[in-house]
């Protein structure tokens, strides 16, 4: 392991970081608006990965094209889960939502194992092994595409939130729930929509991730801690925070793996998570409670 590998590690970390950011974006959005912590987030990413995988395997659809199907599909899935599941069953209590999303993740993971088997699956695209030569590092083409696609999607999301009426309604509900209700915003509907958008982010992340990664029923677990760490690092509810946090964590993971090896590198993320929760729970960009 020599220092000369660092720049490559950093670049790789940034590549993954963009996708991590997308995953975290969904989570932070859901938290910022609904004030719930979606424990099912990792499991739903796993489902998105599988959806992308099977679209490729049975219909030959390229993952980047699959975005067209998976993103809206994820939105509908997320919207429905909230509308007719979480929203109805939780009776509004915080700890109930915690447990229900936990229950969902158990159901999804084990259903995946039941239907798809526990084998790790990957896909091979015609351009999977092509790379871009930057001189000091080779960048795998899929990773580069995913990187830019992630940024574009984050940008689109930002535009949605900042300029559209829907975005304004969502931000209103996030800031002041009762007030939003009073001015006629259908808060319950906004909740479901926001949850849907959050899961749509996962749909996108799944499509962008699969070419460079793999899927098995328990892939979600890895991303749960990563996503939560990014969200608390960046600040619960902050879109910018999710982006910045995503890059920081991506690079940290990459460098951690470089210096400490695969196994110990993972610990870095959990430790960061604990440290932030303890010393600065509002994160870098979050609002001070």
């Amino acid at each position: 392991m020599n220092i000369s590998m660092m720049p490559a590690a950093v670049i790789n970390g940034l590549m993954f970081g963009a996708i991590y950011a997308l995953v975290a974006l969904g989570l932070t959005l859901i938290y910022g608006v609904l004030h719930i912590i979606n424990f099912a987030h990792g499991a739903m990413l796993m489902l998105a990965l599988y959806a992308t995988f099977y679209l490729f395997k049975f219909a030959g659809i390229d993952p980047y094209v699959a975005l067209i199907f998976v993103v809206p599909g994820s939105y509908v899935f997320g919207y429905s889960i909230y509308r007719w599941g979480i929203g109805k069953l939780s009776h509004g209590k915080d700890q109930n939502i915690l447990l229900i999303t936990l229950g969902l993740s158990i159901v999804f993971e084990n259903a995946a194992q039941f239907f798809f088997s526990a084998d790790q699956q990957t896909i091979n695209l015609s351009y999977s092994y092509e790379s871009i030569d930057l001189g000091f590092v080779f960048l795998s083409l899929p990773k580069v595409i995913s990187f830019f696609a992630s940024l574009v999607i984050c940008l689109l999301l930002w535009v949605l939130m900042a300029t559209t009426d829907l975005g304004k309604a969502i931000r209103a509900v996030a800031k002041e729930r009762k007030g939003a209700r009073l001015v006629g915003i259908n808060v319950e509907n906004i909740f479901a929509i926001t949850y849907g958008i959050g899961i749509a982010c996962l749909g996108a992340a799944g499509c962008l991730l699969l070419p460079s990664f793999y899927v098995d029923p328990f892939t979600g677990n890895i991303f749960v801690i990563i996503a939560f760490t990014i969200v608390v690092l960046g600040g619960m509810g902050s879109i910018v925070g999710a982006l910045v946090g995503g890059f920081i964590i991506g690079v940290t993971e990459s460098l951690g793996g470089l210096f400490l090896g695969e196994s110990l590198g993972q610990i870095g993320i959990s430790l960061i998570f604990i440290l932030i929760l303890v010393f600065r729970p509002t994160g870098l960009f979050g609002a001070k409670q």
């Binding site: 069953l89 447990l99 229900i100 229950g103 939560f228 929760l277």
Partner: protein
């Protein structure tokens, strides 16, 4: 003693006698083993119940105490030759200390609700990774325990031995819950669960109480770890720190009824029966867990007080509009 207390005492004694006679009546070793597993599950569930059900602090890291306890007694056995009969106390201490460690970090910094659940999750990852990377835990290889039946080794030739040990542990756990419900400490934990600020205003030292609660949880978890190690004779990081165990602990309790004495026991029975029935129909891994997940969601949605809630007819107030 009034009539009600007499009746209760009678039921308790009858229950004890009946459960003690089970291995005598049910000779089939397979069934004894299943009952043992149910009791073990109930014991773990009860440990979660102390911090989660009574004190209202939901941890997703209960397995940490289990795993640490298992490693404690196993390392003492394999490296220092200390028999598990003594080692189990070290496991209990290790569990309690681990509880104190995690509790201190979490509660000192005011982590509640989902944040607390998350941090316990992160801790279980950290512990697992450390166990995987460190020499004296055997790293990824794990620890093998020599098969040597004997009381000092807490290993038994006949499954009934494990059954009685598990039964003893469950009885102790029930006693702890029973004591909790009648003691000042228990009332304070429940007050913290219901409204921590109000409890503080009334003189309850929430930090101290939560620390004691998590240490009890930890101690019980540690004991369970030793039991497991001596029964299955092998532990490794995935076994010792698996999230699945943490989830099972809270699942049996929530299904049976949080914050009740018999909740974990009832939940353990029900879930294991569900498991056996599911396995009978389709023997594929994961099916029973899918059912578990659905049951969890259903219970939260329709029977938040667990199955015990079916028996306890509480006066239901009008549903208020909730400001989450």
């Amino acid at each position: 003693m009034n009539a009600l207390q007499n009746k209760t005492t009678l039921l308790v004694v009858a229950g004890l006698v009946a459960s003690a006679l089970v291995p005598v009546v049910i000779v089939n070793k397979f069934y004894i083993d299943i009952l043992t597993l149910i009791l073990f599950s109930a014991f773990l569930g009860q440990s979660w119940n102390i911090l989660g059900g009574y004190a209202g602090q939901f941890s997703f890291g209960g397995v940490i105490f289990f795993g640490t306890g298992a490693y404690a007694s196993s390392i003492l056995l394999t490296t220092f030759g200390i028999p598990p009969l003594i080692g189990i106390f070290a496991a209990i201490a290790a569990g309690a200390l681990t509880g104190a460690f995690i509790g201190f970090i979490s509660f000192r910094y005011g982590l509640r609700g989902s944040y607390f659940a998350l941090i316990t999750l992160a801790f279980s990852e950290v512990f697992r990774t450390i166990a995987n990377s460190v020499e004296f835990t055997g790293g990824g290889v794990g620890i093998f325990i020599k098969h040597a039946p004997g009381l000092a080794n807490l290993q038994f030739i006949h499954p009934a031995g494990y059954y009685y040990m598990a039964l003893g542990m469950v009885i102790i756990s029930l006693a702890i819950a029973w004591w909790l419900e009648r003691s000042r400490f228990g009332a304070q934990l429940i007050a913290i669960r219901e409204n921590e600020d109000a409890a503080e205003a009334l003189g309850v030292d929430a930090f101290k109480c939560k620390m004691y609660a998590i240490m009890i949880t930890g101690a019980m978890g540690g004991a369970a770890g030793t039991f497991y190690a001596q029964k299955y004779l092998y532990i490794d990081p995935p076994i010792s720190y698996s999230i699945g165990t943490s989830v099972e602990m809270l699942l049996v309790t929530i299904v049976g009824g949080m914050g009740t004495i018999f909740g974990p026991l009832i939940g353990a029975f029900v879930l294991h029966i569900v498991n056996e029935v599911a396995r009978h129909f389709i023997d594929t891994p994961g099916l029973s867990l899918i059912v578990y997940g659905v049951i969890l969601i259903a219970i939260i949605g329709y029977l938040p007080n667990g199955l015990i809630g079916l028996f306890k007819r509480r006066k239901k107030p009008d549903k208020e509009t909730s400001d989450a």
